[in-house]
């Protein structure tokens, strides 16, 4: 099992957002989590990554044999967790290249691998930047400095490719992207599907799932997974929106099939 979330309750500023979430993700699987605004989709990513201010009130999370909630933010990343942000932060002054090299080598060390030399890293960074269609110049800039929305998302996917994580959480990586940028992001993700790496794709719209085909789709509403199914569930959402959630129509099954 790659990830097992049991009865996760979490709050932000004393407001409970996640209210008993259960999810199991096996190695190699792609899970889509869909839901209306305010359901707690982004909160899930932040809680799993360990962001300060997101208090876990109850529940357990096992990540590849580790007690995830007991680890620091950087330790989770070193253990193979990756979160692609919806709104990546700009850090002028810290060069993108220097940052990625530091990041990749720290994670490699944690995995017991040799850090890359500057020349080795440049080579793989070049290849990755080509893969996500980001000009090499962007590596010399500050982290995300002056990047457009699409360029920031591509920069996230590039980091994902370089870090070779075990589990990737993509937080609305489709938001604000035109169809070409969306394809670049989806191709980047698909290139990393190797049967072992797992993905949690968080999205509001079905659109992204046309390009990244999930094995499972979960509907998150009011801090819980209220419905789980196969890719066809996403099509249902596309057709009927999320209004049915309010009609008490949800056949709320606790937890996810796996």
């Amino acid at each position: 099992m790659m990830l097992t979330i049991k009865d996760l309750q979490a709050s932000v500023e004393d407001k409970t957002i996640l209210k008993g979430l259960n999810l199991t993700v096996n190695a190699g699987e792609v899970h889509a989590i869909m839901g209306p605004n305010g359901a707690g989709k982004s909160t899930l990513g932040y809680v799993l990554s360990g962001r300060e201010g997101y208090e876990v009130e109850q529940g357990k999370v096992d990540f590849d044999g580790h007690d995830l909630l007991d680890m620091e933010v950087d330790e989770r990343a070193q253990a193979g967790l990756f979160l692609a942000f919806q709104y990546p932060v700009e850090i002028p002054g810290v060069s993108n290249m220097e940052f990625m090299k530091e990041s990749v080598n720290t994670v490699r060390k944690a995995r017991g691998e040799e850090p890359y030399t500057a020349a080795e890293f440049l080579k793989i960074a070049k290849a990755a930047s080509q893969q996500v269609n980001l000009p090499l110049d962007f590596l010399k800039r500050g982290v995300n400095e002056g990047f457009s929305g699409g360029e920031k998302k591509r920069n996230e996917i590039m980091q994902m490719i370089l870090l070779e994580p075990k589990l990737c959480i993509l937080d609305e990586s489709d938001s604000g992207l035109d169809i070409d940028a969306l394809k670049v992001v989806a191709d980047g993700v698909n290139s990393q599907r190797d049967g072992k790496r797992s993905f949690i794709v968080v999205t509001h719209y079905q659109r992204l799932l046309d390009f990244i085909e999930p094995d499972f789709v979960h509907i998150l509403a009011d801090g819980k997974i209220v419905k789980s199914g196969g890719p066809e569930l996403a099509k249902e959402v596309e057709a009927s929106g999320y209004a049915w959630l309010d009609n008490g129509d949800a056949t709320a099954t606790q937890g996810a099939t796996a």
Partner: protein
């Protein structure tokens, strides 16, 4: 008057050279000044009590060491070498300094020793603001060493000109540099001072940029330890002149730098960046003063500092937009990071605006690192402590990256990083 200033006056009365008439006027102005106290606005946060009673011998060539001046790799500058304010010679690529007369200068460049150059004004700035430029006046009356540098009209001097002064003895020294960049000419000038012995030094430079000229300027005040240093770089910008200036300061017992800039011709553009990085107990005081005297001038000024354990930084940024200086664009920003509770930062922007059709913005902050940025780096596996170093250093690296000369920024960045890492570990 302090004992130290009395000795300056005494020494000044004994100086006899062709500049003496001008020195006499400066001495008059100096005698009219009061010795600064905490109530003197320009010295409110910088105490001169360590200087007050100090008596050091004046520098002479006798103290000069034979050690080489550090070369800035890849810069291939033409180095005018001073030691303790005494001119040693002209050097290239770390070779032994040659006398000025024997130096082969690039086309369009002429350089004379201060005392060999006729018709030189001492300092317009010190005359205009005597109370502000006490040490400029001291330099006026005592500096017998220095250079007068001319860039011929229309000439582009590609080779960077570096004026480097090493403080290597416990002496008092005064030197100055006057630079005239002729109409349409281009040049790069680096003022590079360093050394940490128990010395007192003044080092002032004045730049006149004629119409359509361009100057890339660096002022490195990289002193330390017991040094008591007072310096300034003053600029007059003619019509359509362009200045790109970067100041880098370390602190010392006292380190005070005054950057003054006058827009005297319309449509001039000035970009000024300053970075200071203060290790424990160091004191660095940067005063900048921008005068927009004519319309259509632009100034962009960014100063950033990091202050470690028990260090003190003073930043005072003044912008004065005169009544006729319509359509002025002026921005001043000062940001500071305090790494410890024992450190101290005094920052003050001062705007005086007498024209009504101008855009002027200013800001001064003493900040802490944004949690969001820290979190982002940590989600990429970088431990918190390491992420803090990257972010704090990134804060000034941003300005280092803006230096137009890559050889200089690549020379400087590792030194700043090393200094910063040492500060972090305190």
């Amino acid at each position: 008057m302090s004992e130290w200033l009395a000795s300056v006056v005494d020494r000044a009365e004994r100086v006899d050279d062709w500049l003496s008439p001008a020195r006499q006027q400066a001495l008059q102005r100096l005698l009219e000044q009061r010795w600064p106290t905490r109530r003197t606005e320009a010295w409110r946060y910088t105490s001169l009590h360590t200087l007050e009673k100090l008596q050091l011998p004046l520098a002479s060539a006798a103290e000069n060491s034979t050690s080489e001046i550090p070369v800035i790799d890849g810069l291939q500058s033409l180095d005018f070498v001073f030691e303790n304010g005494q001119f040693v010679g002209v050097a290239e690529a770390g070779h032994k300094p040659q006398p000025l007369e024997q130096a082969r200068l690039p086309n369009g460049l002429s350089v004379h020793a201060l005392l060999d150059s006729a018709n030189t004004e001492l300092s317009a700035f010190n005359k205009a603001k005597p109370s502000h430029h006490l040490f400029g006046l001291v330099n006026d009356v005592l500096a017998q060493q220095g250079l007068v540098i001319h860039i011929k009209a229309g000439a582009t001097v590609a080779q960077p000109i570096r004026v480097v002064n090493r403080l290597s003895a416990d002496v008092e020294s005064h030197h100055r540099v006057l630079v005239v960049v002729g109409e349409g000419a281009k040049a790069t000038v680096i003022e590079h001072g360093f050394g940490s012995c128990a010395s007192v030094s003044t080092a002032f430079a004045e730049f006149t940029l004629a119409a359509n000229s361009q100057l890339e300027h660096y002022r490195f005040a990289l002193h330390g330890g017991e040094a008591q240093f007072f310096g300034g770089s003053h600029f007059n910008l003619g019509e359509h002149a362009r200045l790109n200036s970067t100041v880098v300061g370390y602190g010392s017992q006292i380190s005070r730098l005054d950057i003054d800039l006058n827009h005297v011709g319309e449509h001039a553009y000035a970009k000024m960046n300053a970075v200071y990085l203060l290790a424990p107990k160091e004191h660095f005081d940067l005063h900048t003063s921008i005068e927009h005297m004519v319309p259509n001038g632009t100034t962009e000024e960014n100063a950033r500092g990091i202050v470690g354990d028990k260090a003190r930084a003073v930043f005072n940024g003044r912008i004065h937009i005169h009544r006729d200086a319509q359509k002025t664009l002026a921005e001043l920003n000062n940001r500071n990071l305090l790494l410890s509770r024992g450190g101290h930062i005094a920052t003050k922007p001062e705007l005086e605006i007498y024209a009504d059709d101008v855009q002027c913005a200013h800001g001064a902050t003493v900040a802490e690192i944004a949690e969001k940025e820290l979190y982002y780096l940590q989600t990429r596996g970088i431990p918190r402590s390491q992420a803090l170093v990257m972010l704090n250093f990134g804060f000034i690296q941003e300005l280092v990256n803006q230096m137009p000369n890559k050889a200089i920024s690549e020379w400087l960045a590792p030194q700043l990083r090393e200094r910063f890492t040492a500060m972090e570990q305190k």
